[in-house]
Subunit: 137 residues, 2 copies
């Protein structure tokens, strides 16, 4: 994963995206923020995927450096940060939804709700709008 300051190898758009979010853990954090309503370090840590604390801390820092997420102090607990997706992060919605669509097609045990899949198939544009407005799965 590239973080600010590292040298670029090419102007390829696939490499650009992969260097920023083409790391499993980064995209799982984006997923947690986008679809699951998670917003704290502790919530990401206990998301069930088994991310290590040092990896989580590193990826949050990278995602913030890249302008994909931003953090603010939790007004109810000043020692804690709340994370949220920026517009740049929310613009990853189509990519994640296409990922979900592909998985649902090829994973016989997919956990994606039928209703959600129907929305992906029939009204992707409307769904992206809803996700941006805060709809959770």
């Amino acid at each position: 994963m590239l973080c600010a300051g590292k040298k670029r190898r090419s102007s390829c758009p696939v490499t650009f995206a992969l260097d920023r979010v083409g790391d499993k853990w980064s995209l799982l954090i984006v997923r947690d923020l986008m679809f699951r309503g998670k917003e704290t370090y502790g919530e990401f840590l206990n998301s069930g995927d088994g991310i290590a604390t040092n990896v989580l801390a590193d990826r949050l820092k990278c995602l913030e450096t890249e302008g994909i997420i931003e953090r603010s102090r939790d007004p109810e607990n000043k020692r804690r940060y709340l994370y949220r997706l920026t517009d740049k992060g929310l613009d990853l919605a189509p990519l994640l939804l296409e990922m979900i669509r592909w998985s649902a097609k090829y994973d016989a045990d997919t956990g994606t709700p039928e209703e959600f899949l129907g929305m992906i198939e029939n009204d992707m544009e409307g769904l992206i709008k809803k996700v941006r407005e805060g709809m959770k799965i």
Copy 2:
């Protein structure tokens, strides 16, 4: 990266996709096959991204195990294999195109041709069809 036989942690569709193609090198191989007309081990190795031979060999094996690519002997050189995307691999086109769209929006130095971006914006469905039929960028 998950390869056949490893234990799954969840039925989450994002995890499913990331465990299969959520590794930078795997998706760069898919990109080379999908958009650049590359089809041999040597062509992937010299793609300019600096993939190591052992990583390339491992990712090709995993992608084949997952049914995303398939290989056949090169009729012109029996010692060489030719790789191509299966339908499951070609179905990754929307995901890669959304990745390209996102990068083009946020990378001031994007190498994506204007004409191609226009097709992404105006006729994604037609573009996916063309990519499946073998159109290269």
